[in-house]
Amino acid sequence: MIIREPVILPERKGFLAKIGQKVVILIGEAGRCAMVGIGAFAQMPHVFNKRSRGEVIRQLYICAVKSLPVVTVVAFFIGMVLALQIGIELRHFNQEHLIGSVVMATMLREMGPFMSGLVIAASVGASMAAQMGTMTVNDEIAALEIMSINPLRFLVMPRMVAMIIAMPLLSFYTCMLGLVGGGVVGYTQFTVPLTVYWTNAMDFANLRSFHVGLFKATIFGIIIVTVSCYEGFTTTRGAVGVGHATRTSVVLNFLLILIVGYFVTRLFY
């Protein structure tokens, strides 16, 4: 059951009691949020249904294709900024030709999945939370439940599948475009020949970094769908509530992408 009654707890007196109550509420919310993600995975066998396939493709278009313009700009400029900052420092040691290596290592390991995660959280995640929130306050989620249509299968699972496919691709695309942006700055600002830039970049492109980056991107995608849909489903108080859910989902996604990103890096390096 997605639609839940608002839990109104008695007001606690005393500082510690209040903190304790907040911790209990937080743990409960984290658990329910995780159940949305787990529930969506449990519905994955339905992905091969004709209707689900169509919805996955529609969501893929929204997640991947419609995000391309903003991801392109962000990726290109991140690569340019990285190359510029690194180039300025490397110039002190006459090592500008190493710009490509640093840009490649940074983009592949961290910036590719991280930046694509942030962009998707701010665009697709926010729109997901707003859509689910509006559907909740307009009784559309309740209508689905009454029709015995599981919202986790009907709404969350196709988004989850689409995001699991789209995020690694977008992360890879971000890496490649960042590399191009870095090359442009290396060539125009530091006169590093493109062949040198590319050769140095490829020296630092190892399969492990590539795999970890894609894994991270996938995890970020799962986080974005889970948090955004959960925030949407728990929306109350009309339009104000939808705004609040959208804002909370973006903030939580940003924080979780940062924190989980760190721990995934720790796990592999």
Binding site: I3, I8, N138, E145, I146, M147, S148
Partner: protein, 252 residues
């Protein structure tokens, strides 16, 4: 068919329903009227476990809704059709797709069979020419009629209507009233209608329950309801210019 047994419903400190007990018989049109905030819509939501009672039981036949787990609940809910006050249509689907949704998701009917049933339901609510329109392009009344078509397309045993005629013009309201009576007569559907519209309630109901202050003020057949001397009922009827002499018969 639907039984409320000593049902109390609280939201925090606020008590919405207090020890409410009544029974809706099979094939009956049961209207629930009363001022805003007296627990009419809450009663409907308790029937399909969108809400759970704080104490007491809500039973549908032999099944107790309030203690049903999700799998039983899904089976139980498939017996219901529900018309929301806000219609609750999915915005990215056309009128046709919205109405076809429960058939596509819950049955194994072919596309042709689904088409026949959907067009039949749309014809009943007078929207057969708007099948390809999207909810955003419909008026409030048309959205509500689409919601009604979606509720009746599966021909459920029990239909719950939350303010079916609010915001509708008198002709459409009458059409909806006639449809509720027709479904009841043709399919034997049990209907629970929450409404403020006493004219509508008196026209279609077999029995009318008045909720006031979270309690049942009275449950009467329409002809007795308008003669009721219960002060809450009297003031509610007076506010809609319905006197003791008013003659209201089912279907008229």
């Amino acid at each position: 068919m639907i039984r409320f047994e000593e049902v109390t419903k609280r939201f925090g400190q606020k008590v919405v329903l207090k020890n409410v007990s009544y029974e809706v018989s099979e094939g009956e049109i049961f209207c629930i009227v009363g001022p805003s905030g007296t627990g009419k819509s809450v009663s409907l939501k308790l029937m399909i476990k969108l809400l759970s009672p704080t104490s007491g039981r809500v039973c549908i036949g032999d099944d107790c809704v309030s203690s049903s787990w999700s799998k039983d609940l899904s089976v139980l809910r498939s017996r219901f059709g529900y018309l929301f006050q806000s219609a609750a249509l999915l915005a990215w689907m056309s009128v046709y797709e919205n109405v076809a949704l429960p058939l596509r998701e819950r049955t194994k009917l072919t596309d042709a069979e689904i088409r026949d049933k959907v067009m039949d339901a749309l014809e009943k609510v007078g929207l057969e020419n708007d099948a390809e329109t999207y909810p955003a392009d419909l008026s409030g009344g048309m959205q509500k009629r689409t919601g009604l078509a979606r509720a009746i397309v599966t021909e459920p045993e029990i239909l719950l209507y939350d303010e079916p005629t609010s915001g509708l013009d008198p002709v459409t309201s009458r059409m909806i009233d006639d449809l509720i009576v027709e479904l009841n007569e043709r399919l034997g559907t049990t209907s629970v209608v929450v409404t403020h519209d006493m004219h509508s309630a008196l026209s279609i109901a077999d029995r009318i329950a008045m909720l006031h202050g979270g309690r049942v003020a009275t449950i009467e057949a329409p002809q007795n309801f308008i003669k009721s001397e219960v002060p809450e009922v009297r003031s509610f009827l007076d506010a809609q210019y319905i006197t003791r002499k008013g003659v209201w018969e089912k279907g008229n």
